[in-house]
């Protein structure tokens, strides 16, 4: 480090948080090595914990100041990595190491990985904790300003002009894991407005602007560190696991589609048939994630057998995961977190798909990458039936119907869902990159909720092809019959309320749509008004004119009432009017 900072200790600042972590992990004896210590803001609080504070830095001022305050301190150059370990051992001189602190240091020095690896070796014998503080360059203030082309270095802070490496959560994680450190405590410092929150009139930064509200939602959903100003974390030694520090530009090998199949194992016959449809796909560029949700123990072998029986080419692309908690939405989140596909679609175990289901999605996804993909389903009724041998089977009892529109109308979809879930394929990046997940408060309509949020984010590409059969149970257990109307309505309200609260992106054409709808509504209102005129009964005739004599009599009567004599007469009559 070439610059020494003198910042004050505050209990809720970086230093206070570091001391809290030390109190938790360093015990009350041994040396705490504060590397890049500056003026040693944590020296006294650590000493108060019973620990031996030892500062080390390249700068003479801070070292001298610490010595004046009675603390041991040493000059050290972290940039000379090869000399680091012997030098630190020399400083320790056989004393027990309780912890190492590196507060706002790693961003100033090159060779982060080598330094962290040397510290890992130093700490191994004592299992000493590593306490780290690092500015988060992923803070939303920096991200939003960069959208407008601004990357503004400052003398101190998140974009301190002397920073060599800009850290994000993922880079920090990769460095630590690669060097053999395992995070054991997190006390990150959040700041709604970082030191990069300037100028005050910035549209992208101002929380009240629509643009900023939209950006904030995207940033906050993508990763939880949107307002972390500094990562303040504690680590313990662990096995080193090399992770890429530098991003690999090549796209990872992924199947085109991840097919998520939810089952409770209650209807093996329909599950077998759904898997048969997958075995017969004209395009085999997909994997299958079979989620066995709350499957009764006696049914688990049945599911395992069904998968084991599959033809080899499908079996090797099929993974089974058991999920024993949550509602019907939970398995979706479990599966989507595992899905490797460029796109992800959900096929329930009682629905069927046609032979070109995957192929249609792939054609669409190739032409419209990143957008939500949609094809069309027909609908058919089935009934449960118990066979002679007691096996539960089913019978198809209606011809296919076509209740679902072949074109996607976003605005109509705000009123109700016209798209069965297997007719949609979501970009996997929605979940991997933007942090989307299904709302587990919903036990119905979770697909509709995701569909609207995804389409408002990605847009949608549609094919008019019929590729699936949505099957309705005339008899037996189904989500549309096991939940009460109140639950459906409550979930409906929850979804629309949230959507209405948020700022969204609407697709091109929306202005014309709203203009047309508004004009059309006005025309209809005008038409309705004219129709009302036609059917409205004529107004009642005006009352006949009052004869002149009655008018004169009324005037006279009023004049009399205003005379003093009338008042006297009224009093004599006991308040009664003297008419």
């Amino acid at each position: 480090m070439s610059t020494t900072y003198q910042f004050n200790y505050t209990a809720d600042g970086v230093y206070g948080r570091t001391v809290r972590l030390a109190a938790e992990l360093a015990g009350n004896s041994g040396v705490v090595l504060d590397l890049g210590c500056g003026y040693g803001a944590i020296a006294e609080p650590l000493r108060d914990l019973g620990l031996t504070y030892v500062g080390a830095d390249t700068d003479g001022d801070g070292i001298a100041d610490l010595r004046k305050r009675g603390f041991e301190s040493h000059v050290i150059d972290l940039a000379r990595v090869s000399e680091l370990l012997p030098r630190l051992r020399e400083i320790l001189a056989g004393r027990k190491l309780a912890a190492i602190a590196m507060l706002d240091v790693l961003e100033h020095v090159p060779h982060n990985l080598e330094i962290l690896t040397a510290l890992r070796e130093l700490s191994a014998g004592d299992a000493a904790a590593l306490l780290v503080s690092i500015p988060n360059v992923g803070h939303r203030d920096i991200a939003f300003k960069l959208l407008t082309g601004r990357w503004e270095y400052t003398e101190t802070g998140l974009l301190d002009r002397t920073h060599i490496i800009h850290h994000t959560e993922s880079l920090l994680h990769a460095l630590m894991v690669s060097a053999g450190w395992r995070v054991v405590a997190v006390d990150d410092l959040p700041l709604e407005e970082s030191d990069q929150h300037f100028p005050d009139d910035s549209i992208v930064l101002n929380a009240r602007t629509q643009l900023s509200r939209f950006l904030r939602r995207v940033r906050e959903e993508s990763a939880p560190q949107a307002v972390v100003n500094q990562f303040v974390r504690a680590y313990l030694p662990a096995h080193a696991r090399p992770m890429p520090i530098v991003a690999d530009r090549s796209n990872p090998a992924r199947p085109f589609l991840s097919v998520v199949v939810r089952t409770q194992g209650r209807r093996p016959a329909t599950l077998r048939d759904a898997l048969l449809c997958l075995a017969a796909q004209s395009c085999d560029d997909f994997e299958v994630l079979l989620i066995a949700h709350k499957v009764a123990p006696e049914l688990r072998p049945v599911i395992e057998r069904i998968v084991e029986d599959l033809p080899q080419s499908l079996r090797r692309r099929t993974r089974v995961t058991g999920v024993d908690h949550g509602n019907r939405t939970t398995p979706l989140n479990v599966a989507f977190a595992q899905a490797r596909g460029v796109y992800i679609s959900v096929l329930d175990d009682d629905d069927l798909v046609l032979g070109h289901w995957v192929e249609t999605f792939k054609d669409l996804g190739t032409a419209h990458p990143g957008q939500v993909l949609r094809s069309v389903a027909v609908e058919q009724d089935i009934e449960e039936h118990v066979a002679d041998d007691g096996a539960l089977t089913y019978q198809t009892v209606s011809a296919p119907r076509r209740p679902y529109p072949r074109e996607f109308d976003l605005y109509a979809h705000f009123t109700q869902n016209f798209t069965p879930q297997m007719c949609l394929a979501f970009p996997g990046a929605l979940f991997r990159e933007l942090g989307f997940h299904f709302d587990e408060e919903l036990d119905t309509c979770e697909d509709w909720d995701m569909e609207l949020r995804a389409v408002l984010t990605c847009g949608i590409a549609t094919s008019p092809e019929y590729t699936a059969i949505y099957r309705r149970w005339r008899t037996g257990h189904a989500s549309n019959t096991v939940h009460s109307q109140e639950i459906w309505e409550a979930n409906h309200a929850r979804i629309t309320k949230r959507l209405n609260r948020q700022t969204h992106l609407f697709p091109p054409g929306t202005v014309d749509y709203i203009r047309w709808t508004t004009r059309h509504m006005r025309e209809l209102e005008d038409e309705l008004a004219s129709l009302r005129d036609v059917v409205r009964p004529p107004p009642p005739p005006p009352p006949p004119p009052v004869p002149l004599r009655y008018k004169v009599a009324d005037r006279l009567n009023l004049a009399i009432k205003r005379t003093p004599a009338h008042a006297v007469l009224k009093k004599l009559l006991g308040g009664k009017d003297g008419d």
């Binding site: 016959a269 077998r272 048939d273 048969l276 449809c277 075995a279 017969a280 004209s282 029986d309 599959l310 033809p311 080899q312 080419s313 069927l352 798909v353 046609l354 032979g355 070109h356 027909v378 039936h385 066979a387 002679d388 096996a391 089977t393 089913y394 019978q395 198809t396 009892v397 209606s398 011809a399 296919p400 076509r402 072949r406 008019p464 092809e465 019929y466 059969i469």
Partner: protein, 314 residues
């Protein structure tokens, strides 16, 4: 052949048995054949593991103008199915379009298996198909077992308890070879593409055997819907199905239906219907139609244009 009284007939399958699965190709995509054979081989592998089969073989007949499969593809398919325990895969290039009836009869000539599984060439089968189709043949009097077609099921009715049904689709059904032989195989002189399966089933029933539908034996028969969400048959499909409808009505002693069909077809603006009516009359004049059977209508069902009662109509 007239209907014999239903009498006790011992089951066709008692212990381990042998099976020949056969399909007739017509410009079928090699990838579709590979999917079909892999699924069928897996089903055979499982049936064998359960001790149901001691021998299983596949046979493909090719009615395409040029071979649908290359020598290399045949070799690869053979290796693939043999790795899964199939004893052999036969491939015959017919060098002419024989249609399904004659094609299956030709393939059957080379069979020594106890059971013959008649399939469309692109049918993908559920892993337990063979076991599930064999099971009813262990019951007395059952002579033919039909699979459930997906994703679009056939709408014809079946008895929920016994599985009994009017006829079994040739898309996928299992017949004991001895019975197939004894009823005269497919009527290839009368039928080219359609109704050959209806006719076979009705002759099986006339021989005193039951035809049953097996709901657990699912197969995927690749069908697509037109933009209107309905079937859109090609002109050839319209022609051959119209011709077959006339011949089936004739063969099962329903001259009234023949007349009605002819009037309808003659009045149709569609050329395939008119051509089917003309062909029928020509064959009638040339004595090229089969002798009528089932004169007292004990087996054949002609109900609102279908050959069985329907659970639903598309």
């Amino acid at each position: 052949m007239e209907l014999t009284e239903l009498e006790f007939k011992p089951p066709f399958v008692a212990g381990k048995t042998s099976l020949r699965a056969q399909a007739v190709l017509y410009d079928t995509e090699p990838a579709a054949v590979a999917r079909a054979l892999e699924s069928l081989a897996r089903s055979a592998e499982l049936a064998r593991a359960e001790g149901l089969l001691h021998h299983v073989e596949f046979a493909l007949g090719d009615s395409s103008k040029t071979p649908a499969l290359t020598t290399r593809q045949i070799r690869e398919l053979t290796e693939m199915v043999e790795q899964r325990g199939v004893d052999k895969l036969e491939y015959q290039f017919f060098d002419r379009n024989m249609g399904t009836a004659a094609g299956h009869n030709r393939l059957f000539q080379a069979s020594a298996a106890d059971l013959v599984l008649i399939e469309n060439p692109d049918i993908v089968v559920t892993p337990r198909l063979i076991a599930d189709l064999i099971a009813p043949l262990r019951v007395a009097s059952v002579g033919q077992v039909e699979a459930r077609q997906l994703p679009f099921e056939h709408g014809k009715a079946y008895d929920l308890t016994t599985g009994d049904t009017s006829w079994a689709s040739g898309a996928c059904s299992l017949v004991p070879s001895a019975l197939f032989e004894s009823v005269g195989r497919y009527d290839e002189d009368s039928f080219f593409l359609y109704c050959d399966d209806v006719d076979l089933s009705w002759r099986v029933r006339m021989a005193g055997y039951r035809v049953v539908f097996q709901p657990s034996a699912s197969v995927f028969h690749d069908k697509r819907l037109s933009p209107s969400g309905e079937w859109s048959p090609s002109a050839a499909e319209v022609y051959y199905s119209a011709e077959a409808a006339l011949i089936l009505a004739h063969k099962y002693s329903r001259p009234d239906l023949v007349e009605r069909h002819l009037r309808t077809f003659d009045a149709s603006p569609l050329e395939p219907y008119q051509r089917a009516a003309a062909t029928y009359r020509k064959r009638l004049g040339e004595g090229g139609l089969p002798a009528p059977i089932d004169s007292d209508h004990k087996v054949a069902q002609f109900i609102d244009g279908y050959y069985a009662r329907q659970r639903f109509t598309s």
